[in-house]
Amino acid sequence: MGRFILRRLLQTAVTALFVTMIVFALARLTGDPTVMLLPTEATQADRDFLKNQLGLDKSVPEQYFTFISKALSGDFGTSFRYRVPVRDLIATRLPATIELAVLSMVLATVIALPLGIVSALRRGSMIDRLARWFATLGLATPTFWLGLMLILFFAVTLNWLPAAGREHWSSRILPVIALGWFSAAAIARLTRSSMLDAMQSDFVRFERLSGLPEFVIVLKHALKNAAIPIVTYMALQFGVLLSGAVVTERVFAWPGIGSLVVDAILERDFPVVQAAVLVTAILFLLINLATDLFYSWLDPRIRY
């Protein structure tokens, strides 16, 4: 197990390195940031000076080496546009993204797991039909539209909840619903189909014959067996949420990583793009590692 974790951590580091290379190169293909940073009266000399200040006059490999060697010590450089340390920008926004991701995932799980299980157990019933309707609607509704509708209804029409920001805890409710519904829909569907398979398997039939109470069979044995695809999906979805729910963050003016990166790309703020992508890539990879470890608890046949 120890060796496995070590190997995976090494793989994580190598993957993260590749990610930074790709992002670094792609960002530089988008053009010269000084065009966006200087006003129209700037001269070529001004541009050259700024390029020099930002280190953009060096060769790309040289710039990359500087970035990586500093990043290893936690220094991601200075934002081209805002002239503040990128580390501070990320540090102030990452908690908001993590919070939104965790809350959405909790909401999704709390709704989707019971719904998926009940709808598998009561296949064809009214609740199953309702659950499938809920799931289809959740998967088919674009998040930005749902976000705007929630704002329109709960904030503008009813005036119950704030439309934007992160000041009060009440401002979390709408973005969490907007973001959580899609995940809930997908998890509910997956839970239903996995549970249907599990409930029809031989071991469940055997356990029923041996007289185990139904709730023990369902919750302890069937669910555990059905869990691997569900956990895999949840981990992936959580990774996606952590990398910034771009649209939701924008619609609700949620001060997270997603909206930071989008603006940074449009503004050619390379250091911010690089650092944000690196941090989220590492988080994503670590979640994947944790998921793999979780598998062996779910299914003791899986050994590393």
Binding site: T30, G31, D32, V35, M36, L37, L38, P39, T40, E41, A42, T43, D46, F49, L50, Q53, S79, R81, Y82, R83, V84, D88, L89, T92, R93, V110, I111, P114, L148, I151, L152, A155, V156, N159, W160, L161, P162, A163, A164, G165, E167, H168, W169, S170, I173, R250, V251, F252, A253, P255, S259, L260, D263, L266, E267, R268
Partner: protein, 509 residues
């Protein structure tokens, strides 16, 4: 069941919180302003774009600036005299001015502000417009300052409010970086706090020499999404929103709790013609005039801009110095356009390329480019549209590679009514964003700032705009209206001619 009761209690708690937060807002005298983009700096000598002025207009002042009606007025000065050669200006300074840190304003501060604005270490991006032309600044006594210019600059006073802010010499003691972190100005609001890409907070400055804001605090929040800004206005989370999207304007107008403000701005929308194209496509003035006659500006303004734009004539707006040429501009006349093309021997099989800007930067930019192409096709100019993302477009516009385009859709915001901010950069042969090459126009532009008599200068500017009108180096389309929304209990009138909100007199009932 437990799930439902849980959800219900979450909503109930949400309602309580919402009511509570609303009550808290009403008690204080804080006005929340929602804007679409963050400022990039709080250092008045590092301003690089128009959206920064939402901060600087409230916190800093120049010797001269503009009043709430857009007219030139003395700010930190009370008056000036100018030598007959137009090179030496002597300013009398206002006596009762205090900096936000309590220090009195003195002539040395002006001298220091010149040194700081021209300090190579600051690398002031706007140096070329004003401060760079000052050869020397001298404090004659504590309330008199003399500025000696390198060459006459008739636009200087008009530009003082935006291009050269005065800072206290205290900045020298704390260092450039620290000063930018905690900027000290003399404006009606003082800096409190800034959270990058989130918000900044300003407090009313009680000791201001003349202005008294009607609120104690301004919280300016960065809300990228335009629909969200509108929602915040409707819920009362924002007292004032900047850039109401055109599509929401009617809906905002109908809401009894809010008010829509439509202000003509100096955001010019025009087509730049690639005049230097090597195959000579645009050499004949009749071809350029044909383009100007071919476009039905009124229909585009009504249908695409939803009425929120003002048609321009020689690519300048009423109020811009010298724009009142008496020329009617180019009416929509497709037959005349066709006739002009025929006279000029236009080859109808030829395809021209129009470069536009992707949505997001300028209202309806993509739709407008497509509409223009439609009208050009109607008169027999086969037009192909290429839409570029703003950053790519800007790079393209700067590169000025004449053979790579025929017409380029442009947006250009003037900062005041003096055209000399735009003309040298946009229309003079070597201008950073100029696709022109007209020696006659170059000579007119070069001479424009050499006048000391304002009337003579005005006459010269009229002559310049007349030349532009007749020779069409660019095709003027319209200026975009600025759309603001305020809550009904907010008292505020937007200043004309600027594309940012001036909040000196904002009040909340």
């Amino acid at each position: 069941m437990s799930l439902w009761s849980g959800t219900a209690s979450v909503f109930a708690a949400g309602m309580v919180m919402a009511v509570w937060s609303g009550a808290a807002l009403a008690q204080g005298k804080t006005a929340t302003v929602a804007v679409g983009a963050d400022i990039s700096t709080t250092d008045p000598h590092k301003i690089s774009g128009g959206n920064e002025y939402i901060f600087f207009t409230q916190v800093f002042e120049g010797l001269y600036g503009h009043d709430l009606k857009g007219q030139l007025e003395p700010h930190l000065a009370t008056g000036y005299t100018v030598s007959s050669d137009g090179l030496t200006y002597t300013f009398k300074l206002r006596s009762n001015v205090k900096w936000h840190n309590g220090d009195p304003f003195v002539a040395e501060d002006v001298v220091y502000s010149w040194k700081r604005a021209t300090d190579p270490e600051i690398k002031n991006p706007r140096l070329a417009i004003l401060a760079g032309n000052i050869k020397e600044a001298k404090a004659i006594d504590s309330s008199t300052v003399e500025l000696v210019l390198k060459k006459p600059d008739a636009s200087m006073l008009e530009n003082m409010g935006e291009y050269w802010y005065i800072v206290p010499s205290h900045a020298a003691k704390v260092g450039h970086e620290e000063f930018a972190k905690n900027p000290v100005g003399s404006g009606p609001y003082r800096f409190v706090e800034r959270k990058v890409k989130d918000s900044f907070t300003l407090d009313a400055f009680k000791d201001h020499w003349g202005r008294k804001p009607g609120v104690d605090r301004l919280l300016v929040r960065i809300i990228n999404d335009a629909q969200t800004r509108v929602a915040m206005l409707k819920t009362g989370e924002a007292d004032l929103v900047v850039d109401v999207p055109l599509q929401s304007a009617k809906e905002v107008e109908k809401d009894p709790n809010v008010k829509l403000h439509v202000v003509p701005s100096l955001q010019n929308i025009f087509l730049t013609i690639s005049n230097r194209k090597s195959d000579g496509t645009w050499k004949d003035v009749r071809v350029r005039q044909a383009v100007a006659h071919a476009i039905d500006r009124k229909t585009i303004i009504d249908k695409v801009m939803l009425g929120y734009a003002k048609q321009t004539t020689a690519n300048c707006q009423v109020g811009v110095l010298g724009c009142d040429t008496g020329k009617p501009g180019y009416a929509y006349d497709p037959n005349k356009a066709k006739a002009l093309l025929k006279e000029a021997g236009w080859d109808p099989s030829k395809t021209i390329k129009l470069v536009g800007i992707a949505p997001g930067r300028t209202p309806q930019s993509k739709e407008v480019a497509e509409a223009i192409a439609f009208f050009l096709n109607q008169v027999g100019m086969k037009t192909q549209v290429e839409i570029m993302e703003y950053g790519a477009w800007l790079r393209f516009a700067y590169a000025r590679e004449a053979d790579k385009a025929d017409l380029i859709f442009f947006t250009w915001t003037d900062y005041n009514n003096d055209p000399m901010g735009r003309l040298p950069r946009s229309m003079r042969t070597d201008g950073a964003l100029s696709w022109n090459s007209h020696p006659e126009l170059d000579a007119l532009i070069d001479a424009a700032n050499g006048f000391t008599d304002p009337q003579a200068r005005l006459a010269h500017l009229r002559k310049t705009w007349t030349w532009i009108n007749d020779n069409v180096p660019q095709v003027g389309l319209w200026t975009v209206d600025m759309l603001y929304g305020t809550r009904k209990n907010v008292e505020w009138t937007p200043a004309p001619g600027v594309s940012w909100p001036v909040l000196w007199k904002l009040a909340k009932k």
